[in-house]
């Protein structure tokens, strides 16, 4: 009989806590999908870098289990409080505490098991989506193939068991210790106002704001110690702000009755402060989770951008080998390349030092630029023209007495006004144009550092050689193993020479693609995984909290309707209450995240973030992704709330 009752309750619970149920189903699906990624041999063999995926996803999973553990424990405690009268009735009727606790445990295990099962099914689809993204990162065609991953199923089940069992055992202990009276009173017990209504709250409110600003500022210093301190201050801010805010608002309005009675302010601020007074700590935790989610997601997008930019900007050649002039010995490479690759076009050329670093100094004075070469770098026009042809760029015309500036896109504004004459090889040259396509001029060891000056061939005669370079285009993208072979040759040459300066620069378009695709999978995926779980957990708690008050809101609005408030006003008041309740825990994290992303954006090499608009675009996209998920919860809660609350 009790088992039947228990099953019925488990079913009913799924209806009452639909948002929670959907969240844990999604969480199970995500856990499974990422574990399947780890155990899938086709993914792991994509690159040697992917060996680290197990460790990284494993670490992310530990964090996910902790977050979900908190979500499940919080919700189960919440359910326990809401159903305490029902449980007390069972005990009153003579059922032992032990059996009631067992019933609660069974119900929740059924809910957990159902979520796990659905999650495993749904997880396959998420896995397919992840697989498709990984394949596209590696420029491989995606073909649907269904695989069974017992290890992933086992890991997901183990994580879920850990989450549910610990939480349930804690709840079971609680029920077994509770008396009937305690159970009956449980649903009336709130968190309790942490601060009483006197002066300390004002001080704490002010202190929390100071903590928030200082914490954010410390995060910007890019110093590990200060960053940890900053994070700690942000935690203090989140809690301090919500604990004191809920107590401070009524006192603000008590002193300003005119503002209090204006429009719907009274109802909104009272409902909100009453709610916040009882869940200030929960709101602080939710804000903290949102902050973590936004930071994680923002960092993921910035890293993704860096990987994309690096891959694009580093080189356009299928293979690029450079060595300091005078130390270059390409013999070993030649033999190996002859055996393993089919070259379609190639050029061996030299870059030269100009007589000084006038242009470098000019750039440095006008933009964020770090110097590598002591002299401006020169390239002969015929080499330049050949390289352009190899890369498929339009020819760049230049007369005999001119020079061309070929720079990175981000240096263009700094160099735009540079029209000075250039003297090279004793010839005076005037500026004849500026180009900015990718010509392996991004890094320090490429065709110049950020820019190179292209001069007539006769102007480089007799100049000091800087780098000897071999650029190649191949029939097929350079294979990972072949590229590894070339890297081994480079290392061997360096080791044999005993001179640390002899370390040739190697770049391969396909190699870079593989490296950055792997980095995306290793860094960006887990960060998104964490962000997603953080948003889902926090939004679920918020929604459960809000919807649990549906009865109170319904009564409130029914009274107001009876008193003559019209439905439009009631709807408006509810909407405003709703917007504030869901907006408050997001606003501080949003501000922190924007500041943090700006700081992090500045930390990247120049050229990774092209402009302020580019950075704003990334921030905007980060917020868009966050709100796309968050608003789903808001919409679900809004729909349920309106249905349950508004008078007929």
């Amino acid at each position: 009989m009790l088992a039947k009752l228990s099953m019925r309750n488990a079913k009913r619970q799924a209806g009452d806590y639909l948002v929670y149920f959907i969240t844990i189903v999604l969480a199970a699906a995500l856990i499974f999908a990422f574990n399947a990624l780890v155990v899938s041999s086709e993914i792991r063999t994509l690159s040697t870098y992917m060996d680290s995926l197990t460790l990284i996803v494993g670490m992310a999973s530990v964090v996910v289990v902790i977050i979900l553990g908190w979500l499940v424990y919080y919700t189960q405690r919440f359910m326990l409080a809401k159903r305490s009268r029902e449980l007390a009735t069972y005990i009153l009727l003579g059922v032992e505490n032990k059996r009631v606790a067992g019933m609660f445990l069974t119900e929740n295990l059924v809910v957990g098991a159902a979520a796990l099962l659905l999650g495993l099914i749904g997880g396959n689809f998420i896995y397919q989506a992840l697989r498709a993204v990984v394949f596209s990162l590696f420029d491989l065609p995606y073909i649907f193939s269904f695989g069974f991953y017992p290890a992933a199923v086992g890991l997901t089940a183990a994580y879920f068991a850990a989450i549910f069992l610990i939480s349930l055992l804690l709840c079971r202990r609680r029920i077994r210790k509770l008396s009937i009276r305690a159970l009956i009173e449980m649903d009336r017990i709130n968190e309790g106002e942490v601060l009483d209504k006197r002066k300390p709250r004002k001080k704490i409110f002010t202190a929390s704001i100071v903590c928030g600003i200082t914490g954010t500022a410390l995060l910007l210093t890019r110093n590990l110690g200060l960053g940890i301190l900053g994070s700690f201050l942000i935690i203090l801010f989140c809690y301090g702000f919500f604990i004191s805010f809920s107590s401070g608002v009524p006192s603000f309005f008590d002193k300003r009755p005119v503002q209090k009675y204006k429009g719907g302010t009274l109802l909104i601020f009272r409902s909100l402060s009453t709610k916040l007074a009882s869940i200030g700590i929960t709101m602080g935790t939710i804000a903290l989770l949102f902050t973590a989610a936004l930071l994680t997601e923002g960092a993921a997008l910035l890293f993704q951008n860096q990987f994309n930019q690096n891959e694009t900007l580093m080189t356009g050649f299928d293979l690029y080998i450079a060595a300091p002039a005078g130390n270059a010995d390409m013999t070993a490479y030649e033999e190996y390349i002859d055996e393993n690759m089919e070259i379609t076009s190639q050029l061996r050329y030299t870059t030269y030092n100009a007589k000084d670093d006038t242009v470098t100094q000019y750039v440095k004075s006008r933009t964020d630029y770090w110097t590598y070469f002591d002299y401006d770098q020169l390239m002969g026009y015929s080499d330049y023209a050949a390289l352009r042809a190899m890369l498929g760029y339009e020819p760049a015309a230049m007369s005999e007495n001119e020079y061309i500036v070929h720079c990175m896109d981000h240096l263009k504004p700094a160099l735009d006004g540079y029209n000075d004459k250039l003297v090279a090889g004793g010839i005076e040259l005037t500026q004849g144009g500026m180009y900015n396509e990718v010509l392996t001029q991004f890094t320090w060891d490429g065709n110049g550092r950020g820019f190179i000056l292209v001069v007539p061939d006769r102007a480089v005669d007799g100049q000091t050689a800087s780098l000897d370079i071999w650029a190649m285009m191949t029939a097929q993208p350079v294979d990972g193993k072949v590229y590894q072979g070339i890297q081994d040759l480079r290392d061997e040459r360096s080791n044999l020479s005993g001179d640390p300066d002899i370390y040739d620069t190697l770049m391969s378009k396909a190699g870079l693609k593989e490296e950055y695709a792997s980095l995306s999978a290793l860094v960006v995926f887990p960060l998104f995984y964490l962000a997603l779980v953080l948003i889902m957990a926090a939004a679920t708690i918020l929604t459960i909290q809000f919807l649990s008050d549906a009865g109170k809101y319904r009564r409130q609005f029914q009274i107001l309707y009876d008193l003559g408030m019209d439905k439009r006003e009631i709807r408006g008041t509810l909407n405003r209450q709703f917007a504030i309740f869901y907006g408050m825990p997001v606003l501080p994290p949003m501000l922190i995240c924007i500041v943090f992303m700006f700081a992090l954006g500045q930390a990247f090499d120049a050229g990774i973030i092209i402009s302020a608009a580019h950075l704003w675009g990334i921030i905007g996209f980060s917020l868009f992704l966050f709100f796309a998920i968050y608003l789903l919860y808001v919409a679900a809660a809004s729909h349920s709330m309106k249905k349950a609350v508004l008078p007929d």
């Binding site: 009755p257 005119v258 503002q259 209090k260 009675y261 204006k262 429009g263 719907g264 009274l266 109802l267 009272r270 409902s271 009453t274 109170k552 409130q556 009274i559 107001l560 309707y561 009876d562 008193l563 003559g564 408030m565 019209d566 439905k567 006003e569």
Partner: protein, 252 residues
């Protein structure tokens, strides 16, 4: 002030119709204190709901201050209700999250009274009803009697034309009930409030100037207090109840 003309109210579907009100007609003058009595299921609450515009009669009309509310469109009813009617409910129906002052002030806010006037008007009426010292408290911090006084203040603070009370003493102890009924008598006598009270308690009804008796959805009888004292009027009410077949429990 209030004219109820041949009001009928049916519930249910075609094959199973329940007639809650069956041709009820009566009038209430401005400044009157009238009680409507009847046993459970007699139609008292249905009648009150129809007068308070919360329910719509199936036939007949109800005029308040000359306005036929039964013909009024839904969107105008809320406005009419907040401007003309005050409510006192059995369970107080105060908003738990608001203080006593704010609960009273809510009526003014709903009626878009300028915010600067709200506090002074609330305090004025609270002093009048003897709850000036508990304005800063929340409903759960005061007694049932004080909560119902707050409801009374809310019902008259905007100068509503008609106060509708539904078993106002139902949740109060005898001392608080007596205090509340005396207060309502004062509201009626000294401040000219028109009160229509639904009750099945003979003692409560004896504070009114006139009592209408409902039975099975029809008006069964009517008693006027006239010059009689309250005790004598109470006796007459009990007689009518006994004649109606009501048990003593019905009259409490």
């Amino acid at each position: 002030m209030l004219q109820v003309k041949h009001v009928e109210k049916y519930y249910g579907s075609k094959n199973n119709v329940t007639k809650a009100l069956d041709g009820v007609s009566f009038e209430v003058d401005r400044g009157e204190f009238i009680a409507i009595m009847g046993p459970s299921g007699s139609g008292k609450t249905t009648l009150l709901n129809c007068i308070s515009t919360i329910d719509v009669p199936s036939a007949g009309s109800i005029l308040i201050g000359g306005t036929d509310i039964s013909a009024m469109r839904q969107e105008h009813l809320a406005k009419f209700r907040r401007e003309n009617l005050g409510f006192i409910f059995q369970e107080f129906n105060l908003l738990d999250t608001l203080t006593i002052e704010e609960n009273i002030g809510m009526t003014l806010t709903i009626n878009h009274v300028p915010a600067a006037e709200v506090q002074s008007r609330v305090r004025q009426v609270a002093e009048l009803l003897g709850i000036g010292d508990i304005l800063a408290k929340f409903p759960y911090q005061v007694s049932g009697g004080q909560r119902q006084r707050c409801a009374c203040a809310r019902a008259m603070v905007y100068g509503q034309n008609l106060i509708l009370a539904d078993e106002p003493t139902g949740a109060l102890d005898s001392k608080s009930s007596k205090d509340l009924l005396q207060l309502m008598s004062r509201m009626n006598g000294e401040h000219g409030a028109t009160i229509l009270m639904v009750t099945h308690d003979a003692i409560s009804a004896s504070y009114a100037g006139r009592v209408l008796f409902l039975k099975d959805g029809r008006l069964f009888n009517e008693l006027r207090r006239g010059g009689k004292d309250r005790r004598g009027f109470y006796g007459e009410i009990l007689d009518v109840l006994a004649f109606m077949g009501g048990d003593v429990e019905d009259a409490r």
